[in-house]
């Protein structure tokens, strides 16, 4: 009898596998507008793995978060339903993307940074193995903005990630056994690690967090096989520490000179000058260059650190082999409002003024969207992608934003309205790029802050902060706090925007079927038309979404979309607003009609002793 049932279940499963391809085939093509790309931008998509896989946070080296999958179309997306869920039971913000390699999904939780391998060939979350790295609880209270992790990396059969207590650990993907563990810094000094490790060129790149704690920021390269440190480049300090030599060629004159990481600070203050690196790293395989940003300077009170404070709130292009900087560019000199430069660079090639340029596109927290020549560091375009009032314009000669002196904070003097606030109009949440539309899709905020600065002591292990803030919508008490916008990076303009009541702090993905997926911090997970921004499907999840969605093909050949719902991090600035959901810890996996793998082992048990119906 049981055997019979199992056979029936298997038949059903096979049937559904066969059925899955039919919607894609039957989907009418008529709605696909034969439009030309808005910007003409393309990307290389190198490092992306198999089409059905999602093997790194951004899926590819260029940071596009574009999937070539097209089973879920604009027609079928409305039928998406939950196929299965997985809860990791932790209570901090879920900011990472799960990875899918082969028929396994790999999930890492926020603190205590527990790793799971889930077998996708079985129904629901079938745990293959679990790895508990046991990081120090001290790290919880040293992380400025929740005990989060922004994902992890897969390389050479290993999963590599950062523990909140400043260790980088590699786990065997097949067995879940620790391969190596390297201590990177000292958590007692306030250094934590929340960044997603990034693998390219046989190395794993990891950076620290703690821009609010007066740390000394760095990015380091470790050997994938052994975890041995190959080089470490600081964001502050003498050229030797920053790994700058004669080959360093910044585009703008004011960033040229010796030991600028020392001379643009009051004497010896660079030691606690921050410039941490906790954003996503990009890699250009052709020129062999990595790109990453650095955080705000410390302390956050600008009066205590006159000077440009290089190389904080900046971006570096480096040689991954040696770590030597090729060029650097500071987005916000003498950053006075905590506008870190950590946000990612999306590497795109596009025609600008009729000339094909190799660029990187960077949405800075300071609300400028930069299109920068990624070989020279020249700013080609700098336009506001959302509302700001701290800068009155951009000087393309010097590459410096022009600051409104009225909004420069002074200790103990309240500024009523500075836009954007410390977390920017876009924080670390990564955008997606679609080569079809040529647009970038980015979750943004629509907020301002009231700001009072207090002069602050450096006390090791406590915040080196001094900013007392409140945040509110740009548009008044009833205004929206966020949105999702489509950005043309070749012309520096917004094409459309989906307004949202709450901040959009999730990652965005784009698919070959011209869909984009994103989540809101009040728990809506949405799919929209990449051309028009029309919302085609929405589902309210159990907690706010700050995770990064992924899409993948299961071993059953179905396309799935997955995202973690577990609000936390900077999104908690809204926690007092009505409608804000409590914390959560669930990964939701969606498929058309919620169909998923069914195996004999998962057959529902039959009640014993039940009377059989005739």
């Amino acid at each position: 009898m049981r055997v019979l049932l199992a056979v029936a279940a298997m038949t059903a499963a096979t049937g559904s596998v066969q059925a899955q391809s039919s919607p894609a085939q039957s989907s009418p093509e008529q709605s696909s507008p034969a439009q030309a790309s808005f910007s003409g931008a393309t990307a290389s998509f190198a490092g992306a793995g198999q089409p059905g896989e999602w093997t790194s946070q951004a899926r590819d080296y260029a940071n596009t978060r574009f999937s070539p999958l097209d089973q879920i179309t604009r027609e079928t997306v409305g039928k998406l339903q939950v196929a299965w869920t997985f809860s990791d039971g932790t209570q901090y913000g879920h900011e990472g993307a799960p990875l899918v390699v082969g028929d396994t999904m790999y999930v890492v939780s926020p603190y205590p940074d527990t790793a799971y391998a889930l077998d996708l060939s079985q129904a629901g979350p079938a745990i293959k193995w679990k790895f508990d790295p046991n990081p120090s609880p001290q790290a919880i209270g040293k992380a400025c903005c929740d005990a989060v992790i922004r994902g992890w990396a897969y390389a050479d059969g290993k999963l590599i990630y950062n523990l909140l207590d400043d260790h980088t650990v590699a786990v065997d993907a097949a067995t879940g056994k620790e391969v190596w563990r390297t201590q990177m810094d000292d958590v007692a000094k306030g250094v934590t690690m929340t960044q997603s490790a990034f693998v390219a060129d046989g190395k794993v790149f990891v950076g620290n967090s703690g821009g609010e704690m007066g740390v000394n920021g760095w990015l380091a390269a470790l050997d994938v096989a052994t975890g041995k440190e190959i080089w470490r480049a600081h964001a502050v300090g003498p050229d030797k520490d920053v790994r700058i030599d004669g080959t360093f060629k910044p585009f703008y004159d004011w960033m040229k000179g010796k030991d600028l990481g020392v001379t643009t600070w009051p004497a010896d203050q660079w030691h606690t000058g921050a410039g941490a690196s906790w954003g996503f790293v990009s890699y250009d395989e052709q020129t062999k260059t990595i790109y990453y940003g650095t955080s705000n300077p410390g302390p956050r009170v600008p009066l205590q650190r006159p000077g440009d404070n290089l190389w904080t709130s900046a971006m570096f292009a480096r040689d991954p082999q040696t770590g030597m900087a090729k060029w650097g560019y500071q987005f916000t000199p003498h950053d006075q409002w905590d506008y870190d430069g950590v946000n990612e660079a999306v590497l795109l090639d596009m025609p600008i003024d009729g000339k094909m340029r190799q660029t990187l596109v960077h949405f800075d927290r300071n609300t400028y969207a930069y299109t920068i020549d990624r070989n020279t560091g020249e700013v080609l375009l700098a336009d506001n992608f959302a509302y700001q009032n701290w800068s009155t314009g951009f000087d393309f000669k010097t590459g410096r934003p022009i600051v409104d002196p009225a909004l420069e904070p002074k200790p103990e003097v309240k500024l009523d309205r500075v836009c954007p606030p410390d977390i920017g109009q876009k924080d670390w949440e990564p955008p997606a790029f679609s080569p079809d539309t040529g647009l970038l899709y980015v979750g943004v905020f629509n907020i301002c802050m009231g700001l009072t600065n207090h002069e602050v002591s450096y006390i090791a292990g406590t915040p080196y902060d001094g900013m007392e803030m409140e945040r509110f919508s740009v548009d008044g008490p009833d205004g929206n706090w966020g949105g999702l916008l489509a950005w043309d990076p070749a012309h520096g303009k917004k094409i459309w925007e989906i307004p949202e009541k709450f901040m959009v702090m999730s990652g965005v993905i784009a698919t070959a079927s011209d869909l984009i997926f994103y989540g809101t911090t009040d728990g809506w997970f949405r799919a929209a038309d990449a051309w028009t921004g029309k919302v085609l499907w929405s589902k309210k999840l159990g907690s706010g979404i700050i995770g990064q969605p992924i899409t993948y093909l299961g071993p059953d050949g179905r396309q799935y979309v997955a995202v973690a719902a577990g609000v936390g991090g900077a999104a908690m600035v809204q926690s007092g607003r009505p409608g804000f959901l409590p914390r959560g810890n669930t990964i939701y996996v969606f498929s058309v009609n919620g169909e998923t793998v069914q195996t004999a082992a998962d057959a529902a048990p039959e009640a014993i002793g039940a009377v059989k119906q005739p």
Binding site: K189, G214, V262, T263, T264, W265, P266, A267, D268, Q269, H271, T272, Q304, R305, P306, G307, E412, E455, V456, S457, Y458, I459, A460, Y464
Partner: protein, 329 residues
Amino acid sequence: MRSAVPLGFAAFSLAGCSSSPLGYLDATGPVGGPIARLGWGLIAISAGVCIVVGILLVIALWRGQRHADLEIKTVDDTAAIRWIGVGVAISTVFLIGAAVWTLVTVRQIRQPASATALSLDVTGQDWWWAVKYRGADPAQDFTTANQLVIPVDVPVQINLRSRDVIHSFWVPKLGGKMDMIPSRTNVTWLQADKIGDYRGQCGEFCGLDHAFMAFDVRVLSKPDYAAWLDRQLLPAAVSAGEPGFKTFMVRCAVCHTIRGTPAGGILGPDLSHFAERETIAAGLLPNTPDNLVNWINNTQTLKPGAKMPELHMLAAETRDVAAFLEGLK
């Protein structure tokens, strides 16, 4: 003859004043000099007026004794009224002269003759002085405490602030007083024309330890000053292994800064180059190891109400910390 006694007494006290560290009547230099000259001048005028009035009074009394009748006559003597007029006129001339002189002096010392090459921020607080040097580029910015070191013959702009109550910045031998008002910046300047050590003092009552809120001004030759500046710009010479360093980091670092180390507190004075300071506790004690141990152990006895608490450190800890600090050249 009788007026010679108070006059002599005044002269004596003035002389005593000028030989003391806070005496302002023998000041020289472009700010102190005119003020001292004005002071002497006003004293001379006042003394002259006193002498003249005294002599006239004596004469009047002498003459009055000869006409000893007590009958009160109505004054219809135009000559007497003329005398009053003459007196008023003479007074007016002297008063206006003194006022003009004062205004001219104030104007003269308001701004230095040449642009100031050096600008310092001095922040008063209960009961000590933070001194921030501002260089041409930020890397030459550093902070010290209770001590101004300035080059000779260079006008120095001083930006005055207060962190709590009203204080007043006063280096009697080099310049006038200027109040330090919370939440605003007052600007004054100094210029010394002689190498040497001078003393400054809070000139506005600011609480319990007002009298113990002093500072030193060291005027150096230009090469000496440049050398001092270079030494200051170096990070503190510490070896992280010494016991005093460790104790300092645990006990003292939340309030005091030592540049280049994890000690970054801003509540107390920056101690990066503590050993080269003349005094400790805002001019209270000469900077010697014994005094430092005494100060750490008995802060509240030596300077009651000072913000620095007594931590009741072990004798060995205090000794280690004192040795460590006295090594910070």
